[in-house]
Symmetry: C2
Subunit: 358 residues, 2 copies
């Protein structure tokens, strides 16, 4: 019997609830395909600060490093917002990304037919459907460049941050984008600000070089300000968007929001090998934590991605996705995606429904 | 009779057409209020590259410096896209901004009742109205920081750009935001990425200090990724957004697009004194240039802003705004904002209608 080690970081707030449900789903699917999953739960984020005094204990990182994949809930909350830079829950995310070498964040953004009503965009805009993938560079750029304070000649306090990218970093993420596009609509849009940034100009050069190895994939370029507009105006034009860490942060959140159902969206953070970290894109939502209100579907779909990309079990992933779709078709909704005429259910019940549909 | 010197930069593409019309509107209003406007037309952008071999000739900058205000059309187009960094039409914009010291870009984003149908957002989202002001820092940050290329130890080409802000720059733009908020809904949202960027943390410190002088204005903070979502989810929550050059570039374009009527939006770029540069937020739209298809209303409304802020003629500005609204109420629309049941008119005719309504 095949066995996989999964590091599990429920994290804070609703991360705990949705992860518990996703684990049940994973166990059921594992049983069906006769693989054994060994889960090791570890702390990161606010709960780790409370327990260990630091957002990412070395032991947590180590457990993750020794596993086949990581399932992450959500970290952070107002409880820890007063803490200084290095003691904030978000540091756990950055530490996991860099510590595990997860340089590519893949965020599929899709509007489910059943949930079109939840989109803030007019029907006329989304009638062609929205199904795009944002490939965000995750371990470079201004997130990890030098930063600090200085004083100007006039005596003013000054602060700086550096956006830095090298050929190697750009080429490897570009490959992720082109490979993904091959399995989709074969179109890659590089989003940058090449009319201003030198780093963007390097991105254009390197991505154009990588594109030569993918003659079957179309490459086009778009400035980030225009991309922010086009996502609202005509999201159907996009297939795969590849971009820097900072622009990806902004655009992937904007793109998620146009679906109107953030509680449905999963993401993976990966590297060259099959290892990856999987998490819902929603936050820890402390205001609804522990109230059986959270939508567990994004985390369940994150688990599906984990099966597909880290365990090589595409069929298991399809099973989970189909179960989720069938529950939606049956008309069940958590509060965040509820609309007139559908049946509102809580976190636990939604989990049971997916398990039953499996 | 009062006399004002106005530098006029029609620029490229539809910039030329819409500016010609705005000048007529300005002349009519000037006559009503018995002021004399002396227009000096100068070249910048693509047309300046064609004529002088450079996007911003020194003589253009000088004419602007010696004027009371600048009215700018739009610059750029695919014709000049192949040119290198310093020879691109956009360089004219950057040169004007820094050369004239225009550190604050004010971009009002408003959905006209008559044009709600044009918004890509659902009626339920915009029913509370959208009326916000983006105050974007315009002469600092990563747009003007050091940038360049290096080589990594492994021999990879590497590129960097620096985001740099000092206290002075942040405090002065913050003042613009708070002053503007006082005349509006008294709410300022600082958009940044303070969980990552040191420069954002300095923004928070300095803006909080400035806020002390405006106890009547509410200040809150939002991360840029969240702001990109909230603009789509609930734009009515915003009054004044103040942010860095780069984030402002992205968010102001996104915010403009949610109105669905970019051909209606004006902007001003200002400094401490009354001098300013006024321009529509739309581009040069070379595809429709010279076809009498462009919407001249954004440029007409830019002229209104020029009267108000640089010439101290608020009443004249109101006249222009009322004329534009009345033409919309009468049901006239250029193609970009046309919907079933309204009357489509060209650029020239739209200009005549506004002149008639004045
Ligand atoms: C919490 C924050 C540091 C993080 C980021 O900016 O990467 C988050 O916004 C995300 O996108 O995962
Ligand atoms: C053309 C470009 C350099 C410019 C900018 O990024 O500032 C434009 O996008 C704008 O917003 O005026």
């Amino acid at each position: 019997m095949k066995e996989f080690d999964i590091a599990v970081i429920p994290g804070d707030g609703i991360g705990v609830e949705v992860t518990a449900i996703a684990l049940k789903v994973m166990e059921k699917v594992a049983a069906k395909y006769a693989v054994r999953l060994s889960f090791t739960e570890v702390l990161a984020g606010g709960c780790a600060i409370d327990t260990y005094g630091e957002p990412l204990p070395a032991s947590t990182l180590e457990t993750c490093q020794n596993s086949d994949a990581v399932l992450l809930g959500a970290v952070g909350g107002p409880k820890w917002d007063h803490l200084g830079g290095n003691q904030r829950p978000e540091k756990a995310l950055l530490g996991l990304r860099s510590g595990l070498g997860l340089y590519a964040n893949l965020r599929p953004v899709k509007i489910y037919d059943e949930l079109k009503g939840a989109s803030p965009l007019k029907d006329s805009i989304i009638e062609q459907g929205v199904d795009l993938l944002i490939v965000r560079e995750l371990t470079g750029g201004i997130y990890f460049g030098e930063r600090g304070r200085t004083t100007t000649d006039e005596g003013y306090a000054s602060a700086f941050d550096s956006e830095v990218y090298n050929e190697f970093e750009i080429a490897r993420i570009a490959k992720n984008a082109f490979e993904a596009a091959r399995l989709r609509q074969k179109k890659v849009t590089l989003v940058d600000k090449a009319n201003i940034l030198e780093s963007s100009r390097l991105w254009r050069e390197v991505v154009a070089k990588v594109a030569k190895h993918y003659p079957d994939v179309e490459l086009n370029y778009m400035y980030v300000d225009n991309a922010a507009m086009q996502l609202v105006k005509n999201p159907a034009q996009f297939d795969v968007i590849v971009t820097s860490n900072m622009f990806g942060d902004i655009l992937s959140d904007e793109a998620s929001m146009i679906t109107g159902s953030i509680g449905m969206l999963a993401s993976s953070s990966v590297r060259q090998d099959s290892f990856g970290m999987y998490e819902p894109i929603h936050g820890s939502a402390p205001d609804i934590a522990g109230k059986d209100l959270a939508n567990p579907l994004a985390q369940i779909l994150s688990a599906a991605m984990l099966f597909e990309y880290s365990l090589g079990m595409g069929e298991a992933a399809r099973d989970i996705e189909n179960a989720v779709e069938s529950v939606l078709k049956q008309g069940y909704r958590t509060g965040d995606i509820w609309t007139e005429g559908t049946e509102k259910v809580g976190t636990t019940r939604m989990g049971e429904l997916v398990l039953a549909a499996l």
